[in-house]
């Protein structure tokens, strides 16, 4: 069955180094998917390809009804690609490891500007929506603060709220808790769990194995630019089929 996100034979190189060597993957609506693997295995690049932050060398990515495609040997026009990617991003929310809130805007304005600039939402409407989202992620009391006045956990929850403000159908997380102090990790993961219960499709690159095991529906284990094994998280964590997956998980759990 075709998923909400579908990736076919995706390849990507940086210079002579081939980071993704032919990835195919279907992601089902409403799932919380975790990409796991060692540093440098290509999981972050895969995530960035899903919303077109990297130009594909070959293969295709489809998110809902928008498709980025590139056939082997075809010449790439970056402007053209960027235009298509922009259309695709309408359905994707992205959260980065380093939060990337806009430092010159208050927390509230960060969430308001995303709506008014990208979607032309009227200001009052955008503010109302921003306040709803802030209380949802537990930051209602902090709306006037500048990003520099927020803790890492608060910033990341703010970034999630900002991405949600554009009504994405898929949320992408690039190591969302890696830059956080250990005691702040949980508040971000709780927010993601809550979104999962609301039925949001989420894809996270993560090193939080406990979170991957307990909260996610589907696991993709990668090594050297290829998917080694993927499946329901219960299956991957309790009875991994591949020897390499077993070894990797043994170290972490």
């Amino acid at each position: 069955m075709a998923g909400i996100v579908s990736i076919e034979n995706l390849r990507k190189s940086f210079g002579s180094h081939e980071v993704l060597r032919g990835i195919s993957l279907e992601i089902q609506k409403g799932d919380l998917v975790c990409f796991i693997g060692r540093s440098g295995c290509g999981k972050s690049t895969l995530l960035r390809c899903i919303n077109g932050l990297e130009i594909l060398d070959e293969g295709s990515v489809t998110v809902v009804d928008q498709r980025l495609e590139h056939k082997k040997g075809e010449k790439i026009d970056p402007t053209e690609f960027e235009k298509k990617a922009q259309a695709l991003r309408k359905n994707c929310g992205m959260v980065f490891q380093d939060f990337r809130l806009f430092p010159h805007l208050s927390l509230l304005d960060n969430i308001v500007c995303a709506q008014t600039i990208v979607k032309d939402t009227p200001k009052d409407e955008a503010i109302e929506k921003a306040r709803q989202l802030l209380s949802k992620v537990g930051l209602a009391a902090h709306e006037r603060k500048l990003p520099s006045q927020l803790s890492g956990g608060q910033s990341q929850r703010g970034a999630i709220a900002r991405a949600l403000a554009l009504n994405p159908l898929v949320m992408l997380y690039d190591e969302p808790t890696s830059a956080l102090d250990p005691e702040l990790v949980d508040e971000v993961l709780q927010t993601m769990k809550q979104l999962d219960q609301d039925g949001m499709t989420q894809i996270a690159v993560t090193h939080e194995m406990r979170f991957a095991r307990d909260a996610s529906d589907y696991i993709v284990y990668m090594e050297e630019g290829l998917i080694v094994e993927s499946g329901h998280s219960d299956q991957i964590f309790s009875e991994p089929k591949d020897e390499r997956t077993k070894q990797f998980l043994r170290k972490f759990l």
């Binding site: 919303n51 932050l53 960027e82 990617a85 922009q86 991003r89 309408k90 994707c92 992205m94 980065f96 380093d98 990337r100 806009f102 430092p103 010159h104 500007c113 995303a114 600039i117 990208v118 500048l146 990003p147 520099s148 006045q149 900002r162 991405a163 554009l166």
Partner: protein
């Protein structure tokens, strides 16, 4: 502020346009440099707002006979001839010697004064009474003057040139030159009354002063000549020279008027009286004098401020366009912007001002002095502002643009809402710094007939022989002009701070500012300059 500057610019454009439509009944505009202008055209030492001088009286007589009101235009001496050629005024009367070179550029009236060069030395100097005695020594004179040419052609003498006569005599007093060779009237007014100096030897050479007029106006030359002849015939010219004590044997011979003076040397005595006690003014007199300078300097300060603010508006807007073109424009436009920046940065501002004011009219673009000053300074500073902006834009982390793209913003939206607002914060301090520099560089526009603070300093200081006190006063004006902008920029910087609660935020109060800086200096001397 910006808006008012633009209105002001528009007003000047209109004014300069209407000024170009001249008629016979319009004022006759005449130019001179009043800085150390005695006895030619200079500010009345007792009332700096009034112009006096024998040439002032001659030109008044000429204007009266032409039936046109006279209108004075200040220009620096170097710029007198180019200013005439570009049509800023109709006549030059400022001790302009009639020479073959100058006759190729402009036309002259018949001579209205004949004189010679005068050698001056420090009182008690032995063995210097002629140019011959000056071989192997340094002799001071005026830049671009006939005496300068004479010294160079004489050979063996090292000529030291000055912008202003008073500076030449001051250097003679300080022993930096052995002698000074300058037109006799100047020596009579500036050196003779000085007890430390001594006029030596007889008259050297012969100098003819003529009124400079554009070559394509033979009618005006004829009219001026007729007026001068009338003034000779009815004795007015003679009386002017008598009042200024400048009638000499050369004049008597040329104008066939060897008779006794028709009037006493009232103006010469007036000048001596007004300036002589300068050398030993009491504190009270000094303060009174400085007080009388204040309204004059305030006017100059307003001019300086108007030029600087308008020029900065041009620089800040055009600089931003340059930076954006250079970063995001199509390739040929990028190269154009780079070429512009390098060309402007690589050439002196003074040359650019001269070019805009004196060269562009040959290409059909004639700007008013104010507009030329604003454009010259503005276009120059735009080059450095564009580099500031570029550094600021590149200083915003790429991650920010990527985050904006991930939210679905286009390149333009990202630039406008995310990158530029952050870049502005980075560039406020260097731009403030540049504004202060521009405020001071605006002193250069005196070369294109603008009378601003620095020019007034030269005029007042040379009139009253008081470079020290007047200098401190003018420096104070510059500081006062710059300070509000430094404060304003600081305030904006704090208001726009991205990190409230840190050091910069504590500076919200002025007291806090002083305290924070003092402690910062104690704790981290390496970062004290912020």
């Amino acid at each position: 502020m910006k808006f008012r500057g633009l209105t002001r610019l528009a007003a000047f454009v209109l004014a300069s346009l209407s000024a170009s439509l001249t008629h016979a009944d319009t004022p006759i505009r005449w130019a001179a440099d009043t800085e150390s202008g005695a006895p030619f055209v200079f500010q009345d030492p007792k009332n700096p707002e009034r112009l006096i001088g024998f040439e002032k009286e001659i030109i008044d007589g000429v204007a009266k006979r032409l039936g046109r009101p006279g209108q004075f235009v200040q220009n620096s001496w170097d710029g007198l001839v180019p200013g005439l050629e570009r049509g800023n005024y109709d006549l030059i009367i400022n001790g302009l010697e009639i020479t073959e070179e100058r006759k190729r550029e402009i036309a002259f009236s018949t001579p209205y004064y004949i004189t010679a060069q005068q050698l001056t030395v420090l009182k008690g100097t032995q063995g210097i009474a002629s140019l011959e005695d000056c071989r192997g020594k340094k002799v001071g004179t005026l830049k671009f003057s006939l005496a300068h040419r004479m010294l160079e052609q004489f050979g063996g003498i090292e000529a030291v040139t000055y912008e202003a006569e008073t500076n030449a005599y001051a250097d003679l007093e300080h022993g930096r030159v052995t002698a000074v060779l300058i037109d006799a009237p100047i020596a009579q007014y500036l050196a003779k009354p000085n007890p430390k100096l001594e006029l030596v030897g007889g008259p050297i050479g012969e100098i003819l002063y003529g009124i400079g007029i554009r070559k394509n106006e033979p009618e005006l030359v004829a009219q001026v000549n007729q007026a001068l002849a009338d003034m000779v015939r009815d004795g007015e010219l003679r009386r002017i020279y008598d009042r200024y004590s400048l009638w000499n044997p050369l004049m008597a011979k040329a104008f066939k008027d060897p008779g006794p003076a028709l009037e006493g040397p009232t103006m010469y005595e007036y000048f001596l009286n007004a300036t002589q006690p300068n050398r030993s003014r009491t504190m009270g007199e000094r303060l009174e004098l400085y007080q009388s300078f204040l309204p004059i300097l305030a006017k100059g300060a307003v001019t300086t401020l108007e030029i600087s603010v308008a020029a900065m508006c041009v620089a800040v807007l055009f600089g931003l366009i340059l930076a954006l073109v250079r970063l995001y424009g199509p390739k040929p436009m990028q190269w154009l912007a780079i070429t512009y920046v390098e060309l402007i940065r690589g050439t002196p501002l003074l040359i650019q001002l001269f070019f805009i004011f004196y060269a562009l009219p040959h290409l059909g673009l004639k700007l008013s002095p104010f507009f030329a000053a604003v454009l010259g300074l503005g276009l120059n500073y735009a080059a450095s502002e564009s580099e500031n902006y570029r550094a600021g834009i590149l200083g915003v982390p790429r991650a920010q643009s990527e985050a904006a793209a991930a939210l679905g913003m286009g390149r333009r939206q990202t630039l406008r809402y995310i990158v530029l607002p952050q870049a502005i914060r980075i560039v406020i301090p260097p731009i403030t710094n540049d504004f202060i520099a521009l405020l001071k560089d605006s002193s250069l526009v005196s070369v294109i007939t603008m009378v601003e603070l620095t020019k007034l300093y030269g005029q007042l200081a040379s009139t009253y022989y008081d470079f020290l006190g007047t200098g401190i006063l003018v420096a104070g004006f510059y500081l006062l002009l710059g300070l509000p902008f430094v404060r304003l920029a600081r305030w904006v910087e704090v208001r726009m701070s991205l990190q409230p609660g840190t050091q910069i935020d504590q500076e919200r109060s002025w007291m806090g500012a002083a305290r924070t800086r003092a402690f910062a200096w104690v704790r981290r001397p390496s970062q004290a300059s912020e």
